[in-house]
């Protein structure tokens, strides 16, 4: 791989963390056949939850921080395994909390912003079109590539961290024009009424196209929340990192020679059935990916003056939580008996160690992950139906 003088200097740096980070990127670049590095403007660090990385990850991060690792571009942390302040209310053990806090401290030491969220683009980190970044959370990667038009591969924990430290990533995959073209056309005939319908579509398509790049036609309108739900589901059931919605994210393109799939009302209903193994959730969760302020407002309106008889958790970022507190949405939800939690989510917190066996979600992504990662029987349905399940 061709390296600039500055990049060569990093390989010989006095700082062992810089040296190691650059070495890692060069080797990964060699494996992927990259010809050079590309400078990035931001990074997203994954592998934050103690549940995900365990003691091996904690040890690595601590030693890396001790060696002098420090990020050189704005870098935001992915969700942790608990609400960093209200973890006791989540039945998180003291031991887990201590380990989680050690991970957070190590990351803070590297100057990573402890945003603990999968939606940095909602409040702080919005790249420009064609800007190169190194993001690691799969739904954020999909949103960055597809909706924003920035360029990132699906990074892993160590590779995103190495990119954050050096400010570079090997130029291959989705950083190159030639790899950013649609591979399948998806004709959407079903009526998409809410974010869970977009999640059902995403879940279905991800399984069909795996790591392909679907091009949707027939979606007449989709906002940030709908696209966030669609992309997240495709990145969970498949490995989609870039998609196109004709008339929404891109203008019309010639896709006449691509394989065509068709998503009808029948496929939509079938996907809900496939992702549902329980009709009686003990815990209902919203916020996978993390809720926007609009989603929280909707939930609070539906809960106003009602009483939740089971458990109901809303996951969001600390930033959006602050707005929710200020607008009174948090009070409405918590007076009804729910909780608004930040910093964590239903996939990376240790739900399998809690008292629950069945969960309700409006997220196509969560519905794909909860049975495996959290050992839960899932009910996949839209927000209104789920709320009706757990209120008096």
């Amino acid at each position: 791989m061709h390296l600039t003088e500055e990049e060569k200097k990093m390989l010989e740096s006095d700082n062992p963390a810089v040296r190691k980070a650059m070495k890692l990127l060069v080797k990964l670049g060699d494996i992927y056949g990259a010809e050079e590095m590309v400078e990035i403007n931001s990074a997203q660090a994954s592998g934050v939850s103690y549940k995900s990385i365990g003691d091996p990850g904690l040890k690595f991060l601590q030693e890396f921080a001790d060696e002098g690792a420090e990020v050189s571009v704005p870098t935001f942390a992915n969700p942790a395994g608990m609400d960093l302040e209200r973890w006791e209310e989540m039945d998180i053990s003291k031991e887990f909390a201590e380990k989680q806090n050690e991970i957070i401290e190590a990351m803070k030491g590297m100057n990573i912003t402890i945003a603990s969220s999968c939606t940095p683009y909602l409040w702080s980190n919005l790249p420009g079109r064609n800007e190169h970044v190194a993001w690691a959370e799969s739904s954020a990667v999909s949103f960055a590539n597809s909706v924003i038009g920035a360029r990132t591969n699906r990074e892993g924990g160590p590779s995103a961290l190495a990119a954050a430290i050096t400010g570079r990533t090997p130029k291959h995959g989705l950083h190159l024009d030639k790899n950013r073209n649609p591979t399948h056309v998806v004709e959407v005939e079903a009526d998409l009424k809410n974010i869970s319908d977009f999640g059902a579509l995403g879940s279905w398509v991800g399984k069909k196209v795996e790591d392909g790049k679907p091009y949707f036609v027939g979606v007449t309108s989709a906002g940030t929340d709908e696209l966030k739900s669609l992309g997240a589901a495709m990145a969970a059931s498949g490995a989609v990192a870039l998609y196109f919605v004709e008339g929404v994210t891109v203008d019309q393109r010639d896709v006449s020679d691509l394989e065509r799939l068709s998503f009808t009302e029948g496929e939509k209903e079938d996907e809900y059935l496939k992702l549902t193994a329980s009709e009686e959730p003990e815990l209902v969760v919203f916020g996978c990916p993390h809720c926007s302020i609009n989603e929280i407002e909707e939930i609070s309106k539906k809960l106003e003056g009602r009483t939740v008889t089971k458990d109901l958790w809303v996951f969001t970022s600390k930033a959006v939580k602050a707005w929710s507190d200020r607008m009174g949405y948090t009070d409405v939800i918590e007076e009804a008996g729910g909780k608004v939690l930040s910093d964590t989510c239903n996939v990376v917190c240790p739900i399998e160690d809690m008292k629950y066996e069945s969960m309700g979600t409006n997220s196509g992504k969560a519905a794909n992950y909860l049975p495996g990662f959290c050992k839960q029987d899932v009910m996949f349905a839209d927000t209104t139906e789920l709320i009706d399940k757990v209120v008096e």
């Binding site: 190691k20 365990g54 091996p56 690595f60 924990g157």
Partner: protein, 132 residues
């Protein structure tokens, strides 16, 4: 026997060959403090990978596997070297972080490296030499 391959990382090491025809997902499969292979039903279950020339087709599973290889190295329980059919990013990352010599893309099938034989692995030159 001398075999050529591609050096994925750097360094040289010698050890006894421990061969697996199955891929390995290190997270959950290997005890980080002892190097013992603990995944139930895997053909290496019960073996210890510390100090061995570990030969397997490729890595799989959780990306935390990289941290496991690093942790094993820090505890002095890492394989002496790793030889793959094709090294993917999880194992490559772990070998770079843990400074474990790693070679892939051999000119012969992996099965030519026989269990229990001594092997010298040079990731610097991308070659393997077996003895006896």
């Amino acid at each position: 026997m001398k075999v050529k391959g591609r050096g994925v990382t750097e360094g040289e090491a010698e050890g006894e060959v421990l061969f697996s025809s199955e891929p390995i997902g290190f997270y959950g499969a290997v005890d980080i403090d002892t190097g013992k292979f603990i995944e139930e039903g895997h053909e290496l279950e019960g073996e210890n990978i510390a100090g061995k020339v570990l030969v397997f087709p490729r890595g799989k599973g959780s990306t935390v596997g990289s941290y496991v290889l690093y942790g094993l190295a820090k505890n002095g329980k890492a394989p002496a070297a790793i030889v793959n059919e094709e090294t993917e990013t999880i194992v490559a990352t772990g070998c770079i972080l843990g400074e474990i010599p790693c070679v892939d893309n051999l000119e012969v099938p992996l099965g030519e490296l026989v269990d229990g034989k001594k092997a010298f692995v040079s990731a610097d030159d991308g070659k393997i030499e077996t003895k006896g």
